[in-house]
Amino acid sequence: MKNWEKYLMGPSKERTQERVGRGITGLSILMIGLLVGIILLFLVGKGSQLFLKDGVSFQEFIFKTVWAPGNEVYGAASMIITSLLVTMVAGLIALPFALAVGVAVTEILPPITKKIIQPIIELLVGIPSVVYGLIGLTVVVPIVRQLVGGTGFGIIAASVVLFLMIMPTITSMIIDAFQAVDQDQRRASAGLGATRWQTITRIVIPAAKGGILTALIFGMARAFGEALAVQMVIGNAAIMPSIQGSAATITSVLTTGMGNTILGTPANDALWSLALILLGMSLVFNLLMHFVTRKEA
C-alpha cells in the first residue's frame, strides 16, 4: 500500500522546476527595473552637479540665453527654445499630411491600397535617422539656401528633416486609430444621409481623436529626442534661433559637446544638465500620452 500522505506532501521535480522558472524570469524583470532606476539616478546625479557643485542657479540655466562655456556662462534657454520650436513645427506640418494620408487610405481608397502602403510606411519608419540627416544635408539644405538665403543650415532645415522623419510614424499610428473606429458607426451615419466627408469630420475624426493626439505626441517626442539628424543640418551655433542663421538644439549640443569637454568640469556638468532636461521632457511627453489615453478610456 502506497503511503499517500508522504507521496502527496513530498518534494518532486516539478517543485524545483517551478522555483527555477520563477527565479530566472523574476531576475530578468528585476534587472530591467533596476537598470531603469540606475539610469534615472545617474542622470539626475550628474545633471544636478552644475547647480550643486558649480554654483550655477537653475533659473539662470533655464532662462538665460547666452551659452558660453569658455566664459563659464551657462544659459540653455536658446537651445531649449530651438528644440521646442523645431519639434512643434515638424509636428504641426506633419499632422495635416498624415491625416490626409490616413483619411485617403482608410476612408476613400480601396482596401488594397492599405496593403501596398503598409510595408512602405514600415520601411520609412525603420529608416535610420542618420539617413534622414543625410537627406537633409544633400537635399534640404541646398534648397533652403536657395529659397531663404544664408548657409541653408538652421532651424528650417532641421524642422523639415524632423518632419520627414516623424511623418511615417504619425501616419501609421493615425491609420491604426481610424481603423479602430467601428465600421457600423460609418454605416449608421451614411444611413442617415451624411456624405462621406460629413461622416469623416463628424464621426470618424472625433472618434479617433485620442489616437490622433497620441500619434502627434509620440512623433513630437521622437523629434525632440532626435540628435544626429538635427545636428547634421542645424549648423550648431548655440544662439537664439533665427530664420536664416545657424542654431543648436539640446541634443545637437550634447552630440558635439560631450567629446570636447573633460569629465567633472563645469562645462561638462552643464552638458549633463542638458541631458537631464531632455530626460525630463521625454517623461513629460510620456505623461501627456498617458493623460490622453486615460481620458479616452
Binding site: G21, A100, A104, I108, I127, P128, V131, M167, L279
Partner: protein, 294 residues
C-alpha cells in the same frame, strides 16, 4: 447637387491631392538618396576597407561591425527581454509592484537614444573601463532594445490560447514546463518576428553608439577566430565604427574627397539591409505559422 455633396467632392479631391503630394515627397526623397547610392554600390565598395584621406574606399569593416553588433546585442537582449516578458505575462500578479515594473519599461522606451548613449559612455565606457568597444555598444543597444523586445514578446505570449496552458497544468506539469514546452513554441513566430524587426532598428542606430562603440575602427585580422586576441575581428573589446556612425562621421568631419558618394552608397546599403530585415521578419513569421498549422 446639394451643398453638402459639393463640399464632399471638393474635400475628397483635396485629400487625395494632399496624399498624392506625400507620395510624391516620399518617392523624391527615397529616389534622391537611393538612386545615386545604389549606383555607387559595387563588390569593391562592399568588400574593401574605408580610406581616411583618399577616394575609392569601401565600407567592409563598418558593415561587418554593424552586423556583429546586432548579433552581440541580440545575444544579451533576447534572453533578458524574453525572461521579463514571461514573468509579466505568466507569473505577475496584478499589484503595484507589477505596475511599477511596467511603468519602468515604458519610461525606458521613451528615453532618447542620445541620453542612453551618454549613460553608457559614463557607466560602461568610463566607470567600468570598457573604453570605446563593441561590448559597450552592445550593452547600450541592449538598453535601447529591451522595451520594444519585451513588449513584442509579451504580445506573442499573450496570444497563445489559455486552454493550452490549462491542459498542461491539468497533467500535473510545473508551470515553468508548460511555458517552456507548450507556450514558448507556440509564441515563437511572434517572438522571432519581433526580434528581427528590432534587429533592423538597432542596425541603423548611431546616436547611442558614437560615445560607446566609438567613431573609429582599428585594423583587424579576419582570419583570427580567437575572440580574446586583441586584433581578432571577433574581439568584443575593440572600438568599432558602424555603418550608421560612419555616415554621420563622414558628413560632420569627413576628410575624404568622395564623402558624399561614399555616404549615399552607405545609406543605400543601410536602407536595403533594413528592408531585408523587414521582409525577413514577415517571411519567417509567415513560414513558421504555416508549418505549425500543418
Amino acid at each position: 447637387m446639394t451643398k453638402a455633396e459639393r463640399i464632399d467632392r471638393i474635400a475628397t479631391i483635396l485629400i487625395l491631392l494632399l496624399a498624392l503630394a506625400v507620395v510624391g515627397l516620399v518617392i523624391t526623397v527615397l529616389g534622391l538618396i537611393l538612386i545615386p547610392g545604389i549606383s555607387h554600390i559595387s563588390w569593391h565598395f562592399l568588400t574593401s576597407s574605408s580610406q581616411s584621406f583618399e577616394t575609392g574606399g569601401g565600407i567592409f569593416d563598418q558593415l561587418f561591425n554593424s552586423f556583429y553588433l546586432v548579433v552581440l546585442t541580440l545575444l544579451i537582449s533576447v534572453p533578458l527581454a524574453l525572461g521579463a516578458a514571461i514573468y509579466l505575462n505568466e507569473y505577475a500578479k496584478q499589484n503595484w509592484f507589477t505596475d511599477s515594473l511596467r511603468l519602468a519599461i515604458e519610461v525606458l522606451s521613451s528615453l532618447p537614444s542620445i541620453v542612453i548613449g551618454l549613460f553608457g559612455y559614463l557607466v560602461f565606457v568610463l566607470k567600468w573601463g570598457l573604453d570605446f568597444s563593441l561590448l559597450a555598444g552592445a550593452l547600450v543597444l541592449t538598453i535601447l532594445n529591451l522595451p520594444l523586445l519585451t513588449r513584442t514578446s509579451e504580445t506573442a505570449l499573450s496570444q497563445v490560447p489559455n486552454l493550452q496552458r490549462q491542459a498542461g497544468l491539468g497533467l500535473g506539469m510545473a508551470k515553468w514546463q508548460v511555458i517552456l514546452k507548450i507556450v514558448l513554441p507556440a509564441a515563437l513566430p511572434g517572438i522571432l518576428t519581433g526580434a528581427i524587426l528590432s534587429a533592423g532598428r538597432i542596425f541603423g542606430e548611431a546616436a547611442a553608439l558614437i560615445y560607446t562603440a566609438g567613431q573609429s575602427t582599428i585594423t583587424v585580422n579576419y582570419q583570427d577566430w580567437n575572440p580574446f586576441s586583441p586584433t581578432s575581428f571577433l574581439n568584443p573589446m575593440r572600438p568599432a565604427e558602424t555603418l550608421a556612425v560612419h555616415i554621420w562621421k563622414l558628413n560632420t568631419e569627413g576628410l575624404i574627397p568622395d564623402a558624399s558618394a561614399v555616404s549615399s552608397g552607405a545609406a543605400a546599403v543601410l536602407v536595403l539591409t533594413i528592408l531585408l530585415f523587414n521582409l525577413g521578419a514577415r517571411l519567417i513569421g509567415h513560414l513558421i505559422s504555416k508549418r505549425l498549422e500543418k
